[in-house]
């Protein structure tokens, strides 16, 4: 029989053994375990997302004919506006191609657009991420940029069988090279200022001293294209505050992000067509 003193310490001895086993376990096993535990829970997440869609569908069925006609008219207006934008885009693409050939420039990266529904949002003070309803089944790669009509949403950090996890632009773990609109000098953007009663904000560092921005005259912050993940020119937010850093060499500031990021239901994943040349 074990002495009483050891018997009392038994839970801690067992904890020590568990920790030791966990430390020596190979990474392959841990990766497999993580994926397995995620996949066990994923069906419930996806199912409640589909149920939510069904609820919205039934809610739409209750709309009156007048309402549908009005929305149809609005949609027709949008379609004509987008048709015009599409023609302009084709013309601009042809111009870019002509200039690339003329100046022997490397071609711009091309992307396949993959729309995906948002299944789950997880916006805590520690991290900000969302689970989308597409994964390996749609060849979503890890690291792919995710966008919406207002600009950057984030990047794919985990891909599972039929879901993927997106690290949001609002998350403290999200960093990207950016630049002020009309200025090609890179600055560093990081998410993370997420207060309970106000829209999300991020921070910028290493901003050149001659740039200025304020609440009254905000500067649009866009992706710089450096780093190869995000194409240049995508909106991140608006710089609303810039002040000199402690060393006086650069400026630091705050970026106001789009409040719609907290309520997105659909996003688009940009999948590089030629991953070797990002």
């Amino acid at each position: 029989m074990l002495p009483k003193r050891f018997d009392q310490a038994h839970p801690f001895a067992l904890l020590g053994v568990v920790l030791l086993v966990w430390l020596v376990l190979p990474v392959v096993f841990k990766t497999f375990a993580r994926s397995a535990f995620f996949e066990i829970q994923a069906p419930a997440t996806v199912v409640d997302s589909y149920v939510d869609d069904l609820q919205n569908f039934w809610a739409s069925e209750l709309k009156s004919k007048e309402q549908l006609i009005k929305e149809g008219k609005d949609l027709a207006g949008l379609i004509s506006a987008y048709s015009l934008a599409n023609q302009t885009n084709k013309q601009l693409s042809a111009d870019i191609l002509r200039l690339e050939n003329l100046l022997s420039l490397p071609s711009m990266p091309a992307y396949r657009l993959e729309p995906a529904r948002v299944a789950r949002r997880d916006f805590s003070g520690w991290w900000q991420r969302m689970i989308i309803r597409k994964g390996h089944n749609y060849n979503i790669p890890v690291g792919a940029p995710v966008v919406y009509s207002g600009g950057v949403v984030g990047r794919v950090i985990e891909v599972h069988a039929y879901t993927a996890v997106v690290d949001l632009v609002t998350s403290p773990t999200f960093r990207v090279a950016a630049s002020a609109e009309g200025d090609n000098r890179p600055v560093s953007y990081q998410g993370g200022l997420n207060e309970t009663f106000s829209p999300p904000r991020g921070t910028v560092e290493f901003v050149p001293l001659d740039l200025s921005a304020s609440q009254v005259q905000p500067q649009r912050l866009v992706t710089s294209g450096l780093g190869g993940i995000f194409p240049p020119g995508l909106t991140l937010g608006s710089i609303t505050l810039l002040e000199p850093s402690t060393d006086g060499l650069f400026k630091n500031g705050e970026v106001k992000l789009d409040p719609r990021l907290n309520s997105l239901t659909e996003v688009t994943i940009l999948i590089p067509l030629n991953p070797e040349q990002p």
Partner: protein, 185 residues
Amino acid sequence: MVRYDYRWLVVFGCNLLLLWLVGLANHYLAHFSLLGFEHCTVSLYLGGLLVTYAALRLDSRHGWASTLLTGLAADSFTALPFGTSLVLFGMVHATLLHGRQRFPREELVFAIVVALLVNLFLFIAISFLLVGSNSRPAAAWLRLFADLLASQVAVALLTSWFMSVQNRIFYFLRQHPETGRRVAS
């Protein structure tokens, strides 16, 4: 005939249910309006509830199995390094297991107090682990404090329900959670 003892699975299953419900709540709490504030957001963390029943009511073997599996399940859905919740839940479980004989562990009020304290410890531990990655940790603490407050209120409200769900399942299975013996209905 040898009857398989699945007490750990009952508690682990209940924990998975709770994880799903909390995820669902956080999904809708990501954006709401309150008292004239247009863009409110809050996040619940109920880790304390996931450990309490297994540590207070189950025997050592089944309690450990349930708690460790729950830790891994919780980690797989978060941005925490895989194994963090396993370690934290394990620490809490060992501490509660060590001292539970000295307290009225069958009492609901005691379970609520334990769940609140455990949740507080887990929340603060995770916050200290992650807050360093934030560009402005001082500002991050304000948000974390709001999340902690909401989480503690949720734990205080949900503990009695969650404990009784697990008690009720064992009652239907006619099994004592600690001894595993068959009990008369």
